[in-house]
Symmetry: C2
Subunit: 236 residues, 2 copies
DNA sequence: AAAGATTTAGACCATATGGTTTAGAAAAAG
DNA sequence: CTTTTTCTAAACCATATGGTCTAAATCTTT
């Protein structure tokens, strides 16, 4: 029966906005200009959450700037419930930090209230279809923020300044095991060398990293990109 | 002289692709269908880098899948030079991991070779204008990957499972200092308590976190969100 | 082939760390 | 106003860790 006639089920929507004017404006817009079904509206995050549990909508339009419980916390809570609700965040302005945090905690889309109504409908359409949608303008802001945070975090030290680059291969292996909380005895066993050899390596590592104990060496390693070819940190 | 006639300087481009067919195809396309100026081409990353240093183009189109030095490493190196070159990554398929890594290290755009030529021109246009451009389809892939990695990292432990939540205030203070690589003696001085008291706290911490040494305690703390209300990690 | 770096490993010693128990004072919870 | 928890601190001991020096075998580089 594939590729046959598909009766596309109307996506059910809940709209959340503390401003009643906005709320009803958006509601009308959706009811008039789209096929979606606004099953409920809420003017506070806490009410919204109970409504979501009750109606199990496909889509939630969530205003971020609300007093009391703010929209971001609400999104995080709803995502934690894991009901499969797809949340589109809504704000008045394109603060990249807000965009970043919303997307981070699981929003499937983000639109500005100032955007054309067609854009809102399109966004809902895309998100209802399982995609994640960010308008090009917001996407651009997001990525600038994203890259900036990476740059700051990663380029703390140049290659010459990063003392990790002076370690030999074997020293790296030893340090790697230390960053897993393994004792010297354990390291010796894993690397098939004697414990005294491990101690020699460790002492060399200390000198090269200019630290005086295991914990500091591990912290230096973690803070300066050791193993960061797989694991990536971003600071926000 | 603002808002006067602006002679928009043609953006200068260098194209990098190990496949010569592709390379000349793209070159012709750009020369015929756009205003951009292809100042050079390269079939390897290392050649590309010297050409970039020489010509200082505004835009670089960089193929990711190349033998020898791969495109991602090349992008990272070029970004490190900090010449203000804006790099657009180019691949045959939409691997979200590749997209994520490319954007992470600073690519200003990402397009597929299979995309329409108009799309390529548009991307260059946007990136040359200072924006970051990801076609909606790739952007969607990116965000799925992005959110998945956050979800995995953040929802490792529930509040009850996270042993850090069983620590007392004083124990948290001690652990905090340990995560800074401070010795027991140092902790004692900072908290104005005796060293034996520190040891008592530390032993209690070990029991609560189910570890047997300082390094493991520090690693547990760092891996399980101690101090993570400000810093956010994502694992890839 | 020679020089240098890396990896291995021992001796020796000092001290920091970890394990266990006991216990009083202070604070919080009931 | 008890009871419980937290914070403080000591004694005691075993062992892991760290500092320094020496040195041979192996691998790299010139």
């Amino acid at each position: 029966m594939r590729r046959g006639l598909e009766f596309k089920k109307k996506a059910r929507i809940i709209i959340v906005d503390d401003n009643y004017e906005h709320l009803s404006g958006i509601k009308e817009l959706i009811e008039i200009e789209s096929d979606f079904d606004v099953v409920a509206t809420a003017t506070s995050a806490s009410v919204a959450i109970s409504l979501i549990k009750k109606y199990r909508p496909e889509i939630v339009l969530m205003d971020i700037n609300m007093p009391e419980k703010d929209g971001l916390t609400a999104i995080a809570e709803i995502e934690k419930l894991d009901l499969g609700v797809r949340i589109i965040a809504l704000t008045g302005y394109d603060d990249p930090d807000l965009i970043f945090r919303a997307m981070k905690i699981g929003a499937k889309g983000y639109i500005l209230k100032t955007m054309a109504s067609a854009q809102l409908i399109y966004a809902i359409d895309e998100v209802a279809a399982g995609k994640i949608y960010l308008p090009a303008a917001l996407s651009s802001r997001f990525f600038e923020y994203f890259q900036k945070s990476f740059k700051e975090e990663n380029q703390e030290l140049s290659d010459e300044e990063n003392l990790l680059n002076y370690l030999t291969q074997r020293e790296e292996e030893v340090l790697d095991l230390l960053t897993q909380g393994i004792t010297y005895k354990g390291v010796a066993q894993k690397l098939f060398i004697s414990e005294t050899t491990v101690k020699t390596h460790v002492n060399n590592i200390f000198q090269k990293l200019q630290v005086n104990d295991r914990t500091q060496a591990v912290l230096y390693a973690l803070n300066n990109g050791f193993l960061n070819r797989r694991k990536v940190k971003i600071a926000i």
